[in-house]
């Protein structure tokens, strides 16, 4: 899953989509995940990183991750060929 290349993401968690003019605010966890996605990391790699870093098991993380990914798709923040 790749997010749109054109998305501008600030360190504070502000996301701007220049093609639609929409902007969003991310919490710190979402920001961390979206940065991993922008760097091209796979869901498995992200899961490994997050579960090692935080007190969360793989199944729980997976559930929340795909929920978040669905939200990104719905908001059209995912690269077109990945939708």
């Amino acid at each position: 899953m790749k997010i749109k290349k054109s998305l501008a993401i600030s360190e504070t968690g502000f996301v701007f989509d220049p093609s639609t003019g929409d902007s969003y605010t991310l919490n710190p966890t979402a920001l961390e995940i979206i940065q991993h996605l922008k760097e091209g990391h796979s869901p498995e790699q992200i899961s490994k990183t997050i579960t090692q870093k935080y007190d969360v098991d793989e199944n729980t993380f997976e559930r929340y991750f795909y929920d978040f990914a669905g939200m990104l798709k719905q908001m059209q923040l995912v690269a077109p060929d990945e939708e």
């Binding site: 054109s6 501008a8 701007f16 220049p18 093609s19 639609t20 003019g21």
Partner: protein, 351 residues
């Protein structure tokens, strides 16, 4: 270049909640590094804010409404020209453009230049002519029908040419979404009382409204184009906040439209982007819009370029603009003296 001073007459000074483009156009002109300017305001009402905004308007003259006829307007412009030696005139209201197109040659003979669409361009982009316009230039437009009575809307519905929701539009301004026959009749009466006939009934296209401000040189070239999305919309449908977009599709669309129509002058495209990512043209306004200063701030001083084109100069097309540049409109209580108000009211002029 900057030593060159132009006297520029500008209308649309009603900088109110549904603002005319006059003041934003002047802001662009004031920021020109190509020429200096003396701004002559053309006002219709004593309480238009522009005449009292002395940092933007050097001298204001009241002018008769276009509905009072071409000759009375021409006579007034001649009076103003005798005193001000107007180099360029920029009409900013849709309702004025037709009259000024008609006056263009006579004004040119007097030495007053304008840069307006041709009569054909102006007529064929009318809301009521939009389907034919779309067909001619191969672009998607919603079905539109001019009507002169509310019963015609019901007939269109009976004939299954249209279905609710519908957009009921004035020939110059205003648009309402009608969900049923009762609402359609109410909006028809409201709009026809304000803007006259015909009223335009348009198919409702679901999607996101996006806009482009652009300037065509009349030979098929786009001098500049900046796409924007309204972020905050007033109850009159006006942008109270907006942001420039990175949308090559909209820029390409604008270039093709200007190239095929050979559009001359400023324009605003009102488009709907559907869920399928298709652009539907819902309106072409034949002038720069009130949000044109966003384009100036984004790096395309279209009002300056329009003045240069009017003066017969060659203008290099803009190729870039800043993406994510925003505007937020605000209202402001300007304190004015009674003396100024009485000057404009009684003499029709204000310095």
């Amino acid at each position: 270049m900057k030593n060159n001073r132009l006297n520029i007459a500008i209308s649309g000074l009603n900088n109110v909640d549904s603002p005319g483009p006059g003041i934003p156009v002047i802001r662009g002109i004031r920021e020109s590094n190509q020429f200096q300017s003396r701004i002559i305001g053309l006002a219709y009402e004593n309480l238009e804010p522009g005449p009292y905004m002395h940092e933007f308007v050097d001298k204001t003259y009241k002018v008769p409404y276009p509905s009072e006829g071409v000759e009375s307007l021409m006579e007034r412009i001649r009076y103003i020209h005798d005193r001000e030696q107007v180099d360029v005139l920029i009409p900013n209201f849709d309702s004025e453009i037709f009259v000024f197109i008609k006056l263009a040659e006579r004004l040119k003979e007097m030495g007053v230049s304008m840069f307006l669409p041709t009569l054909q361009q102006f007529e064929e982009r009318h809301k009521s002519n939009l389907p034919a316009f779309g067909k001619k230039y191969g672009i998607k437009v919603p079905d539109s029908y001019p009507v002169t009575s509310a019963s015609e809307i019901f007939d269109l519905k009976k004939e299954q040419k249209v279905d609710f929701p519908l957009v009921i539009k004035g020939k110059f301004y205003d648009a309402f979404i009608a969900g049923n026959s009762d609402q359609a009749a109410i909006y028809f009466n409201k709009i026809s009382a304000k803007w006259g006939l015909p009223v335009v009934v348009q198919e409702f296209v679901k999607g996101t409204e996006v806009n482009v401000v652009a300037l065509g040189d009349g030979r098929g070239n786009t001098i500049g184009a900046v796409p924007m999305r309204k972020q905050y919309i007033t109850d009159k449908g006006k942008a109270w906040g907006g942001i420039t977009l990175d949308d090559p599709g909209m820029i390409d669309y604008t270039h093709k439209l200007i190239s095929s129509t050979k559009w001359r002058g400023g324009m605003e495209l009102e488009l709907i982007r559907t869920d399928k990512n298709e652009l539907h043209l819902i309106e072409i306004n034949p002038r720069l819009p009130a949000w044109v200063y966003l384009a100036v701030a984004a790096g395309q001083n279209l009002p300056e370029a329009l003045v240069q084109l009017a003066m017969g100069e060659t203008v290099e097309p803009f190729t870039e603009y800043a993406i994510g540049k925003m505007f937020i409109r605000y209202s402001f209580d300007m304190i004015c003296s009674l003396d100024e108000f009485q000057q404009l009211s009684t003499t029709g002029e204000l310095s």
